[in-house]
Each structure stands twice: as structure tokens, then as C-alpha cells.
Amino acid sequence: MGKYLLFLSNRLQTVLQYRVGFLMMIVTNVFLILAKYFLWQAMYSAEGKLQIAGFSLDEMVLYVLVSSLVYLLIQTNIEHEIAREVMQGEIAVNLIRPVNYLLQKFFISLAYFITNFLFVVVPLILLATIFFPFGSILSYHWIPLSVGILLAFVINFFFSAFSGLIAFWTTNTWGFQMLKLSLISFLSGWIIPLDFFPEYLAKIASILPFKSLVYDPVMIFLGKAGDFNAVAILLLKQGIWLALFSAFGLLMWNRGIRKISILGG
């Protein structure tokens, strides 16, 4: 465990070098949130509608805010690093080290989670509470949200790992990254809530794992995911996806490193 924490603290120090980066991430996210905010506001004012697809304007504003923050938090920033190490053969060095490669990368990506939380998400929440009066903050479900985010982060870590490790087979990863990004951004509910999808598409999205990255945690937070049992089932499903993906990640890793000796690394 100790050695993995070293990877974490090492990366923390690197990330903390570029402090202007955090400020700019705050600005970027303010812009992205505002773009959605104005669009929704225009939609609700269209006909003086109070509810669209089961959301009031206030709920929609909260959805935009929280989903943006969740999406930001689950970024692992590790896919290009893994892909590069596989493509350039640097990964061979890691095979002779007494550390688990994926676990090492996981701890490195935790550094981004921690810094993004402290220096981007917390300031954004403070900004949001100044500009949008939300009423009682305590009436929302913070604890299941936190659990959901943590699980989503680990699930997304495996997506990142897959998109890097796939380089063992495809050599280049531009295409898979592209595919992954578009799948996640739409089917996770980050662009719009899944309630806006037509029925057939909503059904497809509900079978796939992507919605547990953003949509589920945010709906739980808003209290729109149903009663206690429904929430428990959603979190359990997230856990099952997580178990499946970690097994698949291990399989991919074991297959992949066998490939490396064929190619001569």
C-alpha cells in the first residue's frame, strides 16, 4: 500500500505545479455550465412551461450543475499515459517492477480526483451557491451522491484503462478514445438527462453501464431516482458493473502483456 501512496503523492506534487491550470478549469466549467443554463432557461421560458420531461427549471439547473461536477470528477486523465506507455514499449519497464501496473495507474489518477475536487469542484460549488439560491442544501442526498461518484470514478478508470490497453491490439488509440468519449458523453446523461431521449434510446441507455457514471448519481442526489430501495438497487448495479470491469481489466492486462513478448516490446 505504501508504495502506491508514493505514486499518488508524487503525482500530486506534479499536478500542484500548474496552479493556473485549476483557475482555467474553473473558468472552462463556468462557461460550459452557463451555455447549458441559458439554453434550458430559454426552453422553459418558451411557453411559460413549469415542467419539461419531469424536471422543473430549478431541478434542471441543479442537474446541469451537479452533472457537470460529477463529469469533471470522474475524469482520470490516465488514458493517454497508458496508451503512450504501451505504444512506445515503456510498459516493459513496469513488468519487472514489483508493482501492479493498473493499481499504480489507479493511484496516479486519484491525484487528479483529489486536486480537481479541492481546487475546482469546491470553488465551483461556492460560486454556484452565491449565484443560484437553492434553498436548503441539506435536503439533497449528499451521501449516496458521494458513494455514487466514487464508484463512477473507479468504473471510468477502467474505461480509461481499456482505451489505453487496447493499444496492445490496435497499436493506435485515436479511434477508440473517440468512440469512448462520444459514448460516455451522451449515454451517461452528461449532455442532456436521459429523460429527453425517445423511448427506444432511453431503453438502450438504461441497459448500458454509462448512465451509472453521471445520470444515476445525479438523479439520486436530486431525490428523483425513487425510494430507498430503488436507490440501493442503482448503487448495487453500479457495484456489479465495477466488479465486471475490474475482472475484464485484469483479463485484458494478462492477455496484453503476453502480446508484448510476441512483438518484442
Partner: protein, 265 residues
């Protein structure tokens, strides 16, 4: 003239080179194309999904919005096709000292740098989906603007593209002084997200920002407004803004290259 032909030749040569690099990894390339198709279909579909719930947004109909959206994809796509490598300038070319390579050959350094990623497939896809969308929405709207208006409207495309490129180049060139400028570049470029929708759904401050500070509004909204209304002020301003941002971008780029040479980094 001779120089121009020489550079056209080089463009084709470098473009083929980059495209071949991507196509060589066949399975990855196919996934990338699939990802791209999914991405553009879904972003258009999102607009349709929204209009399932409201008949118009701030007085704009579905096809009017799709028209603006479609047009915005064309200059953006052309820009993507030729200048995507600007991002690397902000990300790593200065930081890792790789930039000096571009000063060692008898080609314009800016051209040489950009040539690393000519003919990026995302760009081609963007242009095609833009044209399809424009055509589709134009037939639905029964646009009966006179041919002269159409000619002026379409000839604004290169000017829009240069607005796009020069904003990107200005913020990437900051890296010449700060070594990395990617976070500020992504903050500014996230504003481009706003132009898919009509400018008048945004607040006054936002409109001012997008018109006069970071003039993305001139890359889609104002040209389309000209086509719809025939107000000559819009295309004239588009040209003026385009020429001045381009001049500013080249000025800052040149200063940056000078600065880079004098420090010898």
C-alpha cells in the same frame, strides 16, 4: 505564385502522410469513424430531442437552429482539417523543447508546425455533416433569399474559419512566454460551444463577450442572420473582425517565435 503552388504541394504531401498514419491502424481507424458518426448524429439528435418538448426556443424554430448549427460545423471543420496541431503548441511543444525543430527547415514555421496534422479525419466528417445539415434545414425552411445573399453567405466561410483559427493561435502562442497555455486555450475554446445556438438566448454580458471579446458569434450566428434578414452590416463586420483577429494572431505568433529564439529555449 510559385511559392503558393509549392505550399499547396506540401499541404497535399503532409496531409496524405498524416492520413496514412491513421489509416494504417485499420481497426482503430474504423472505431474512430464510428465514434465520430455517433458523436455528430447524437449532437444533432439532441436538438431534435429538445424540440420534442417545446415548439420553439426564444422564437427560433427547430430548422432555424439546425441551420445555424450546421453552418457552424463547416468553418470549424475546415479549421480542424488544417490547424488542429495548434493545441500541441499550447500543450507540449514549448515545454518539451520540441518547437525548435520547426525553425530548422526552409518552410514557414507556422505551416510546418500545422502540417503535422493536416487532413485530420474529424475535420472531414464535420464538414460533411455540416453540409448535410445545412441542406436539410434549408429545404425545410424554404429559404427564398436571393442568390447574391447566398453567394455572400457562403463566401464568409473562410473568414469564419480564420476567426476560429486566430483565436486558437492567439491563446496557444501565449505558451511562448508561459511554456504551457493549454488550460487557458481550452477555457477560451469552450466558448465555441455557445455558437451552436442563437446568440439571443444568452445574457447581455455573454453576448458582449462572444461578439466583441472572443468573437465566436461571427463564426455562425451573424452570417446566418444576414442570410435570414439581408442586413449587410453582419457580413461586413464578419470580414472586419476576421481580418483584425487574424492580423493580431500573426503578430502575437511572430513575437512569440522571436521571444523563443532570443531565449534559445
Amino acid at each position: 505564385m510559385k511559392i503558393l503552388i509549392h505550399y499547396l504541394d506540401l499541404t497535399l504531401f503532409f496531409g496524405k502522410l498524416h492520413l496514412n498514419k491513421l489509416i494504417e491502424y485499420r481497426s482503430d481507424f474504423i472505431m474512430g469513424v464510428a465514434g465520430f458518426l455517433l458523436d455528430s448524429t447524437m449532437s444533432v439528435a439532441t436538438v431534435f430531442f429538445l424540440f420534442n418538448f417545446v415548439p420553439q426556443i426564444q422564437g427560433w424554430s427547430l430548422y432555424q437552429i439546425l441551420f445555424i448549427f450546421g453552418f457552424s460545423l463547416i468553418p470549424k471543420g475546415i479549421d480542424y482539417l488544417f490547424t488542429d496541431y495548434t493545441w500541441e503548441l499550447s500543450r507540449r511543444l514549448i515545454q518539451r523543447g520540441e518547437f525548435s525543430k520547426y525553425l530548422t527547415r526552409p518552410i514557414n514555421p507556422l505551416f510546418y508546425m500545422l502540417s503535422e496534422r493536416f487532413f485530420h479525419p474529424d475535420g472531414i466528417g464535420g464538414i460533411i455533416s455540416g453540409i448535410v445539415l445545412l441542406f436539410l434545414s434549408a429545404t425545410h425552411l424554404n429559404l427564398t433569399a436571393d442568390p447574391l445573399r447566398w453567394i455572400v453567405f457562403l463566401s464568409l466561410i473562410p473568414f469564419c474559419m480564420f476567426i476560429y483559427f486566430s483565436i486558437k493561435l492567439i491563446f496557444a502562442s501565449i505558451a511562448f512566454w508561459t511554456t504551457v497555455s493549454m488550460p487557458s486555450l481550452s477555457a477560451v475554446m469552450s466558448l465555441a460551444d455557445f455558437v451552436k445556438y442563437p446568440l439571443d438566448i444568452y445574457s447581455h454580458a455573454m453576448r458582449f463577450l462572444l461578439t466583441w471579446i472572443i468573437p465566436f458569434a461571427f463564426t455562425a450566428y451573424f452570417p446566418t442572420l444576414f442570410l435570414f434578414t439581408g442586413e449587410w452590416y453582419y457580413p461586413m463586420m464578419t470580414v472586419v473582425i476576421s481580418i483584425s483577429t487574424t492580423a493580431l494572431a500573426f503578430f502575437i505568433w511572430n513575437k512569440g517565435v522571436e521571444n523563443f529564439e532570443s531565449t534559445g529555449t
